[in-house]
Structure formats: C-alpha cells, structure tokens
C-alpha cells in the first residue's frame, strides 16, 4: 500500500498540471509532513503558494478598481 503523503504529492503535481492551484495547495499541505526536507517538494509547494497569493492580490486589486469605477459613475 502507498503512503498517504506520497499519494498527496502526486495529486498535488497532477493538480498543478491541470492548473488547479488551490487543489494543489491542499494536497501539498497534506504531503508536507513527510516531504518537508525534500528540496524539490519545498520549491514546488512554495512556488504554488506564492502563485496563489499573487492571484489573490490581483483579484483584490481588480475588485478595488471596479469599485472605483462605480464610485466615479455614482458621483457623476
């Protein structure tokens, strides 16, 4: 039988291949206990985490700019 952490690492990488970065982050998290000293694992999981932060920040900025446009229209 396979270790759950190994399966999670594989699921994380296949999720990255599908560009499902949120799912990848969840699977990386499940695998992190077992692979915490694996440099490649850390590089990939941290890059994925950073990408999600960047995407979140971009989404926030886009929402802010939408709000500003609405305010401009409201004020005439």
């Amino acid at each position: 039988m396979l270790k759950q952490a190994e399966k999670a690492y594989v699921k994380a990488l296949t999720a990255v291949r599908r560009k499902d970065y949120q799912e990848a982050a969840e699977q990386f998290e499940k695998a992190s206990g077992f692979f915490r000293n694996d440099q490649e694992f850390r590089l990939l999981s941290e890059t994925n985490r950073l990408l999600l932060v960047v995407k979140g920040e971009l989404a926030r900025l886009e929402k802010d700019s939408e709000l500003q446009i609405e305010e401009v229209f409201t004020d005439g």
């Binding site: 990255v16 560009k19 890059t47 990408l51």
Partner: protein, 220 residues
C-alpha cells in the same frame, strides 16, 4: 510599471515555472497516478466496496503506462504489493460473479509473471484500446465526473444555496483559468435552467470564463 502589471508579470513567471517543472515529470506522474488509483481501489475493497469492475478497468487502461510499455522494477514491486492486498480482499469477498473471478485471474497472472514479462502483458493488451478508442473517452469522462463531484463538494461546503456554489465555480474558472470549474459551472447552469431559474447573467460569466481559459491556453 504599475503594481498590477508587476503582479501579472510575476503570475506568468510562476505559472510558467510550475508548468515546465511538472511537464518534465509527465510520464512519471502518469505512472504514479495509475498506482494511486489502484491503491484507492484496494482501500475501498478493504472497506467492503465492490471494485472488481473498476480493477478490470484499471488493467484495461494503459494510458498511464510509459510509452515504451515498460515499468521500472521498483514500480512493479510496489504494484505487486498493492495487488497482493487487493487479491486478499477480493478473495475474502468473492461473490462468485464472472467479473470477480476474471479479475482474480488477471491479478494472479500479474503476480506470477516475472518482472520482465510485465511490460509484454501491457503490450499485448494495448490493441484492445486501439480498436476501441471510445473506451478511453468513457474512462476520461467517468474520471472527470468523479473529479467534478469532489470540486463541487469543496465549493458547496458551508454555502446555503446552489447559486452561491455556482458563483464560486465561475470565479474559480475565471480567475484560475480552471477547466474543471468551467465544466462544473456549465452543469449547474443547465440544472438551474431546467428548474426555471434565470440563468442569463451566469451564462454571460460562463462565456467570459471560457474565453479567459482559451486565451490563457493560447498564451501558454
């Protein structure tokens, strides 16, 4: 350069890095994903689930095998280990059905063949899928449905209404360029349409997400 432009550039760099890093492992990932599926079936069988048909599908589906039809010795040993567990589980829950007996026979063949023969078992079975390519799409669709069910569970968690789940799915499809979220959104929209909900605004967002995904693939 504005903050947004810098972040978009960084987003592309990170996505590109992850894509290239994982692309190098494509063949390996395919084998490991196949082993994951077999392991999942073995765990299900130990909980009493009937998995004979799924195991037969696993043996028939060689899409996860490397192109030259050979597995590493270490992979063969790991698969053997899983199959031994599965064999024990299946023997203890034998329902006497032909499918059950056939699967037990295939497992027995695998376990009794030498490591070097395992590739040739794969190659002998390959023409079956070549003559019936629709089996591959059936399997892919089935696996996609399972994956969509999991995604739906995640997105619906804590939500009060299907519309909120649809909103989350469309946002995920658009922002993360996620094809599964796009498919799920389309299913939910059609479901709601059959229930006479007004779905036009969601259809518009679905089209936008689809366009965003197409553009993202073209950029890649």
């Amino acid at each position: 350069m504005s903050r947004t432009e810098s972040l978009k550039r960084l987003e592309k760099v990170l996505e590109s890095f992850l894509e290239r890093a994982t692309a190098l492992k494509d063949e390996r990932l395919s084998v490991l994903d196949g082993m994951n599926r077999l392991d999942d079936l073995t765990r299900l069988s130990s909980e009493g689930a009937k998995v004979a048909d799924d195991v037969a599908d696993w043996f028939a589906d060689k899409s996860f095998w490397p192109n030259n039809g050979r597995l590493r010795d270490a992979d063969c040993r790991r698969i053997e280990g899983i199959l031994e567990h599965l064999q024990t589980n299946l023997q203890s829950s034998d329902d006497g059905s032909p499918a059950h007996s056939k699967v037990l026979g295939v497992i027995e063949d695998w376990l009794s063949s030498s490591s070097s023969d395992k590739g040739s078992i794969t190659l002998r079975r390959q023409p079956e899928s070549a003559e019936a390519p629709e089996i591959d799409t059936i399997h892919r669709f089935k696996s996609s449905l399972e994956s969509l069910a999991g995604l739906f569970e995640n997105l619906a968690h804590g939500k009060q209404h299907l519309m909120s789940t649809l909103d989350a799915a469309l946002t995920k499809a658009n922002e993360e360029k996620n094809t599964e979220a796009l498919l799920l959104s389309a299913c939910v929209i059609y479901f709601m349409r059959l229930d006479n909900y007004k779905v036009e605004p969601y259809v518009k967002r679905l089209r936008q997400a689809e366009q965003a995904i197409k553009e993202s693939s073209a950029d890649a």
